[in-house]
Symmetry: C2
C-alpha cells in the first residue's frame, strides 16, 4: 500500500562530536520517505528551491519515491544548521531559514489523492490540514509535530489531532502538549485529544506506545557509535508506517512489530551523517537487525 | 539460597514534588534486603546508632531478614536528607551525616561466613573488600558503587571489581568509571576491569545488561505516579539477586528474568515513600506485575 508524506525537504549543515557535514539532504519528508521506501511505495509532498540539486532528486528516485508532489519554487531551499553536544540528546539550532517553505500551500497531484496511508511530517498544522482535505480514501493518518507548533499554533494543531489515528511525538513535546510531566499521564491526556495511538520517542531510550487498552515499551537498539542523530525520529516514523502499510495489520501485534522495524531503521540512520547510511542499506540488513532486536529484548521465551 | 548484603542502614528525610517524609528507614542495605527477601533468605551486615528504633528492626524481622550482622554503635545512625526536582531523575543532597558509619569495620558473624550469594552495597570499597575476605564459599558477588568512590577510592574499587561477577551501576557512574560517554563503549570498558556482567540502571528508562557475548535491554515499568524514587536502584538489585539466588540459574535467560523481577520490585518501591510500599507488597502482586511486564514488552510471539 502506498504512503503519502508531507513535510520538509531541506539542506542541513550538521556538527556532531564526530565531525561535520555541509548542506546535506535533510528534512522530515526526506528521512521519512527514504526510510518508508524499504517497505512500501512512497509519494512525497514538499517544496524545494532553485538551488536543490538533481543529485538529491535522483537519490529519491533510486528509492522508487514518487516526486510528482515536489514543487520547485523561486528562491532557496529550507535550510537548517545545528550543533550536537557530547550528550547527543542536546542540540543547538545555529541557523534556520524557511526560504521557499514560507507561504507554501501543498497542492496534491491527482495521482496522490487516492493515498490511504498518510504521514503528516513536522510542518505547520494548517499545511497538514490542507493535505488531509485533499484526500479521498484515507485509511490511516499518522502525524508528527514540535514545540514551535504546540506553542504557536495550538488551535490548528488540535483540529489536526482530531482527525488522525497515530501521533508520533518526542517526550518533551508530549509533556508540553499535555501539560503533564509524568509521561504516562501525558500520553493518556493526549489520547483524549483524538489520536487512537500515541507513540512517544525517547531517543536512545526507545519508544513507548499508548492506546486506550495497551502500553508497549521498547528500548532503542544500543550502538557503540552514534555519528549523527539527525533524522532518527523521522526515520523511525518512516520505518514504522512503511511496515504498517506493507502488512496492513493494524492489530496491537502489527503495531508493535512496526515500532521495532521503525527503531531498526532509525538505528541505521544515526550510524552516519544525514541520509548516507540509508542510501546503502538493504532490506536484508534490516531483517537481520530486527532479529538481533528480538534477541536483545527477549527474556520470557 | 541465602544472600548476604553489606551496605548502609540509614535515616532518610525526603522531599519530592508529591510530599515529604522525615527520618524514614533508608540506606542501600535496607532497600536491598527487603526487596531480596521476597525471593530468598537475607543476612544483613551494617551499623546503626543508639537512636535506631526497634520498630525498624522489627520491619526487617517480619521479612525474615537475619540481623545478627547489624552492629549497634555509640552515636547516631547514618543520615541523609534529599530533595527531588519535578524531573525525578534530578536530586539534591541537602544533608549527609556519616555518624556511626565512619570508621565502621564489618565483622561477619560465624553464621554468615558460608554465604554464597553476596551483594556489596554502595559503601567504601575497603569495607566491601573486608567483607569479601571473610567469606569462604562465594558463588556469586554483585556490587554497586557511586561517583564518590569512583573519584576518591579508584584504586580500592578496582581491586573489588577484580573479584566480582556482576557490577550494578547507573549510567552516569558507568561513564565516570570508564571515561567513555557512549554507554555501550562504557560497558565494554568496564567488562575489562573484571566483572563478567555489567548492569546499567537508567531509572525510568530501564536497564541494560552487558556481558562478553550478549546485550539485553529492557524498559522500566511505566507508572502514572512516581512518589519517591529513593531506593529504586537498591530494590532493583535486591529483586534481581534475590530471584537469581532462588533459582540458581545463572544462564543468560536466568539473568534476564532476574533483571525483570528486579525492575518489577523497584516499580513498587517508588509508588510510596521510603520502604512503605514494600512492607505491604505480596509475591502474588510481584508475579502479576511480572506478567504485565511480559505483555508490556512482547512484540514477537
Amino acid at each position: 500500500m502506498s504512503i503519502l508524506v508531507v513535510g520538509t525537504v531541506a539542506f542541513d549543515s550538521i556538527e556532531t562530536p564526530r565531525g561535520s557535514a555541509e548542506r546535506v539532504l535533510g528534512g522530515s519528508a526526506s528521512y521519512f520517505a527514504v526510510a518508508a521506501s524499504f517497505f512500501s511505495p512512497v509519494q512525497i509532498v514538499g517544496v524545494i528551491g532553485e538551488d536543490f540539486p538533481k543529485e538529491y532528486l535522483d537519490l529519491f528516485s533510486r528509492r522508487g519515491i514518487n516526486l510528482e508532489g515536489i514543487k520547485r519554487e523561486k528562491g532557496e531551499t529550507f535550510y537548517w544548521r545545528g550543533r550536537y553536544h557530547e550528550d547527543l540528546n542536546v542540540r543547538d539550532t545555529k541557523e534556520l531559514h524557511l526560504n521557499v517553505l514560507s507561504g507554501f500551500v501543498p497542492r496534491l497531484p491527482e495521482s496522490y489523492k487516492e493515498a490511504e496511508y498518510i504521514f503528516l511530517g513536522n510542518i505547520d498544522p494548517t499545511m497538514q490540514m490542507e493535505v488531509l482535505n485533499q484526500l479521498r480514501k484515507i485509511r490511516l493518518v499518522a502525524c508528527d509535530t514540535m514545540d514551535h507548533w504546540i506553542q504557536g499554533s495550538g488551535h490548528e494543531l488540535r483540529k489536526v489531532l482530531g482527525r488522525i489515528e497515530i501521533l508520533v511525538i518526542n517526550d518533551s513535546e508530549a509533556r508540553l502538549l499535555s501539560g503533564e510531566h509524568n509521561i504516562v499521564r501525558a500520553a493518556r491526556s493526549i489520547l483524549k485529544m483524538g489520536p487512537k495511538v500515541v507513540l512517544i520517542k525517547r531517543g536512545e531510550y526507545g519508544v513507548l506506545q499508548f492506546s486506550d487498552s495497551s502500553i508497549f515499551a521498547t528500548p532503542a537498539y544500543p550502538l557503540e557509535e552514534v555519528f549523527d542523530p539527525t533524522g532518527a525520529g523521522d526515520s523511525f516514523a518512516g520505518g514504522f508506517l512503511g511496515y504498517l502499510a506493507r502488512t496492513g495489520d493494524h492489530s496491537q501485534r502489527g503495531l508493535r512489530r512496526a515500532i521495532v522495524y521503525g527503531s531498526v531503521v532509525a538505528s541505521f540512520t544515526v550510524e552516519d551523517f544525514g541520509l548516507k547510511r540509508l542510501t546503502t542499506l538493504s532490506l536484508e540488513e534490516i531483517e537481520e537487525r530486527y532479529q538481533r532486536f528480538v534477541e536483545l529484548t527477549d527474556f520470557h521465551t
